[in-house]
Structures are given as structure tokens and as C-alpha cells.
């Protein structure tokens, strides 16, 4: 039991929280940066290689298109269907291979990213599918290449949806980053477990909750504002 009346309790709490918040933001930030790129790429691949998509026949072969699409679908489904806590454990050997260590603040980025990419890829897929088919047709009529269609028509038109989906993904990853704390991933989850659970400090638990809620709120408000600003409908 920690005595909250002990001298230095509050400054110590503050320092602990500050450090843990920094770790969480770092993990989530790096994860989301990688996810933005790879999730966008994977989600786009899902849409363009689908039947009737603009890359239905990569290299002129419909078989290649079907295979790429099926593999991508499987990867995304697999990533989506494994519970995070199991994914995290299953990835320990892989993380060790990649970074030399399976535990720690940075090492936790690996399972977080592996969970976030399929999550975001699916949202990207949905957002891109909502782009009006007529716009793609207009692009074709202007003689756009496939790259131009993706980069100048489909993705720009989906931006508000992509931002909202990104916000949702960030919130999930903040959530997962707390779980990572349980296996030595640091961050706010680590504080909750070490002080709150093992040493029964309610104040620590409450403080962690407040910080997490604040992060999620800020992410959601900023995301919604940005999405609205980018939407000109």
C-alpha cells in the first residue's frame, strides 16, 4: 500500500505519469505512422484488385489479380480475428528476431503495428469503396492512368472517411498499448499494473484513467474537426 500522505507522493506520481504518458504517445505515434502508410497501401490494394477494380488485372493477368486480392484478404482477416493479447504473445519470437528483445517500450510497437495495420486497412477499404463510381469513370474519361486514379481521384475523395477511420484506429491502439504494459511494454498500462494492481494505489489507477480519457478525447475531437474541415460536401 502506498501512502498518499507521504512526502513526495504527488511529485512522484506526476513524474511517473509524465514518463508513462510519453511512452504511450511514442508507442502509439510510431505505430500509427507505420500504420498510416502500410494500412493505406493494403486497404487500397484490397479495393483495386477486387473484381471490377481498376487493378483487376495486374500485369494483364486476372489470375494475378485474384491471387493478390485473396492473399491480402486473408492477411487482413487473420490480423483482425486474432485477439490482441494472443497476437502479442505469438509475436514474441518475431519481435525478438527483429529488435533483439521482445519486451520494452520500443519492442511493444511490433505487436501494436501488426494489430493496427489490418484494422486500418479494413477501414481504408470501406472508405475507398464509398467513393462514387462515377468519379472513377470521369477519371477514366480524362485518360487517367491507374496511379493517377488512385492518387488524384480515389484517395483524395475518401480523405474525410480516412481521417475518421484513422481516429478510430488511434483510439483502439491507445487501448492496446495499455495491454502491452502487462508484458513489460511500459506506458500507462504499466503504471496501472505496477502501482494500481500490485500496490493497491487507487489514486494511480484514477490518474491513469484520466490521462487515457483525455488522450482519447483529444484524438477524437481533433480527428472529427479535421475530417469536417476536409469534407466539402
Amino acid at each position: 500500500m502506498i501512502d498518499s500522505n507521504a512526502p513526495g507522493f504527488w511529485p512522484q506520481l506526476f513524474d511517473t505519469l509524465l514518463k508513462a504518458t510519453g511512452e504511450t504517445l511514442y508507442q502509439v505515434g510510431v505505430t500509427m505512422l507505420i500504420t498510416l502508410i502500410l494500412g493505406l497501401a493494403l486497404g487500397t490494394l484490397l479495393v483495386v484488385t477486387d473484381r471490377g477494380g481498376i487493378l483487376e488485372r495486374p500485369f494483364g493477368s486476372i489470375v494475378a489479380g485474384r491471387i493478390i486480392n485473396a492473399v491480402t484478404q486473408t492477411v487482413v482477416n487473420l490480423g483482425r480475428s486474432i485477439p490482441f493479447i494472443i497476437l502479442m504473445i505469438a509475436l514474441i519470437p518475431f519481435t525478438r528476431l527483429l529488435l533483439g528483445s521482445a519486451f520494452g517500450v520500443t519492442a511493444a510497437i511490433v505487436p501494436l503495428t501488426v494489430a493496427a495495420i489490418p484494422f486500418y486497412a479494413r477501414i481504408v477499404e470501406i472508405s475507398l469503396r464509398e467513393v462514387n463510381e462515377g468519379l472513377v469513370e470521369a477519371g477514366h474519361s480524362l485518360g487517367a492512368t491507374r496511379w493517377q486514379l488512385v492518387l488524384k481521384v480515389i484517395i483524395p475523395e475518401a480523405v474525410p472517411g480516412l481521417i475518421r477511420g484513422f481516429t478510430t484506429t488511434v483510439v483502439s491502439i491507445v487501448n492496446y498499448s495499455a495491454i502491452v504494459g502487462a508484458i513489460g511494454g511500459g506506458g500507462l498500462g504499466d503504471v496501472a499494473i505496477r502501482y494500481g494492481h500490485q500496490r493497491y494505489s487507487v489514486i494511480h489507477i484514477v490518474a491513469v484513467i484520466i490521462v487515457l480519457v483525455a488522450i482519447v478525447q483529444i484524438v477524437q475531437v481533433v480527428g472529427a474537426r479535421l475530417a469536417n474541415r476536409m469534407s466539402h460536401r
Binding site: 480524362l142 485518360g143 483524395p156
Partner: protein, 329 residues
Amino acid sequence: MITLSSVTKTFGDAANPVRALDDVSLSVASGEIFGVIGQSGAGKSTLIRTVNLLERPDSGTVTVADRELTALSDRELLQARREIGMVFQQFNLLDSRTVRGNVELALEIVGVERRQRTARTNEILELVGLEHKAQQYPAQLSGGQKQRVGIARALASRPRVLLSDEATSALDPETTDSILQLLRSLNKELGLTILLITHEMDVVKSVCDSAALMSGGRILEHGRLVDLLSQPGSQLARGLFPLGELPEGTSTVIDVTFVGLSSERPVVAQLARTHHLDVGLLGAAMETIGGAQSGRTRLELPGTIEQHTAAIDDLRAQGLVVEIVRSGR
């Protein structure tokens, strides 16, 4: 300028084939406005989409500006499409871009560098009367303004051909008129060849030089409007001059069509004078069609068969087109 030759397109599977285009051949001359009219499902959109190969025909050839598109490689086809503009019923503008941005998209795709893009965009926006809306987003525009942006985008890279798929069908009658006038003036000023699709005879009547009637994936008749008018039995001509239902009875009824100068002639008075027939006027319509004053009157002829024959022969001898709608006893 545009030639379709024996073009066929079937949708669906072997069990339930839909013949959207059934051996369609069509020729659009350079500098004319050609209208394809038909009811919903006739295959009009499929037809126009084969012209820039948005829809690849199962068989037949498509030639635009002396280039056979059906024989081109994918890369060459992109190039060819850049020389064919297209406008759509639902405008298909990017919500994410301003009016200026939408027009510039066409130029970015072609690879025009920034400064020239700006200059060309200013020029084309002025041409369609939207220079003051350049910074607005499509959502802030009326339907007619959106279609002007669509036209500006389609023409930005200076194509010689414009395809229009029901471009005015989502617009109210006044806006429709203003868009049609714009198309007409672009046709005149730029020498633009326009192929347009519509289900409204008024559109054909007000801007087209030539037209085709489409039904069930086939072209039933086509030609210059002035020629169609003097073609007995032409459904298009009947559509251009709707004279209503036939009256009850067994009297002889004829339609007399005048094209050009002959519309000035007092036919009814002349029939009365020369043939002593007390002609009944059942209906009449006057239009400027394909640039020429044209008219059609529906007359009821009293008297004997012999009198009718003589009167009809006389009218035909004067170069009028006479169609016997009902042969009386």
C-alpha cells in the same frame, strides 16, 4: 469524326444475356451535333461509353478522328481518351476539389505544367461563364453550374470531340436550355463535334444536326434532321412534330411536311383553290430544326379518292413530303 461499325455488346451471362448493343453502326460527321434518343434501357449509355472505350465492345470497331480505338494498346488508349471529352448526367465532379481544381485535374492528368494549367483553366472557366466561381466547391454550386464545370473539365485539354450522356437530364427546363445553348456555341466557336445521348425529343429538336433513334440495342433510324423530316414514316420526324391522336372516322388524313423555304407556302389555301377541297386543319407545328425552318401540318381531306390522289400528287410535285396517315373511302 466518330465511326462505330457493327458494334456489339452483351452483358450478363450465357443464360441471361442482355444485348445492350446489337450490331450498331453509326457515323458522326466532323463539326456536327449528333443526338441519340431512346427510352431508358435502350442501350444509349452503353453506346456512348463504347466511343471512348469505357465499355469495350465484344465485337466491331470504334474509330475517332481517324484512329481506330479498338486496335490501340492500353497506353495509346489513355492518350486517345485525352482527346475525347465526356460529360455526365450526375456531373461526376470531385467534392474534394474546387471548381478550379476540378478543371485542373484534366490538365494534371495530361501532364501540363503548373503555370500553363492556371492560364488554361482561367481561359476555359471564362468560356463557360464560371470565372467568378473558381474557388468554390461543387457543393456550393447549382446543378447548371456544376454541369458547366463538367463541360470545362471535359474541354480543358482541347479535345475535338465531346460526349454527353444525358448531361441535362438532372436539370430543370431553363437550366437545360442554357446548357444546350452553351453546347451549341462551343460547337460553333470551337468546331467541336458533339455526340449526345438523351431521352428527350426537345433536346434533339433544339440543338442537334443529326439524330439516331435507338431501341433494344439497335439503331432504328438515323440521319440529318432535315433529311429525316422529309422521309415518310420516320418515327423521329413524328417525334419532332407531335400532332396528337387521329380523330375518329374514316376520312382521309395526310401529314404534309415542309422543310426550309417551302414552309412559306399557303398549302391549305392552294388545295382549296386548285382542287376545290374544303380541307380540314387537324394540327400544325412549326420548328427550327437542324437550323432550318420546318413545319408539318395534318390535314383532313374531304371528297373522292380521285381528288385525294390528284391533290397529293400535286403537293409532292412541289417538293413537299406527304404521308398518308389514314386512307379514307
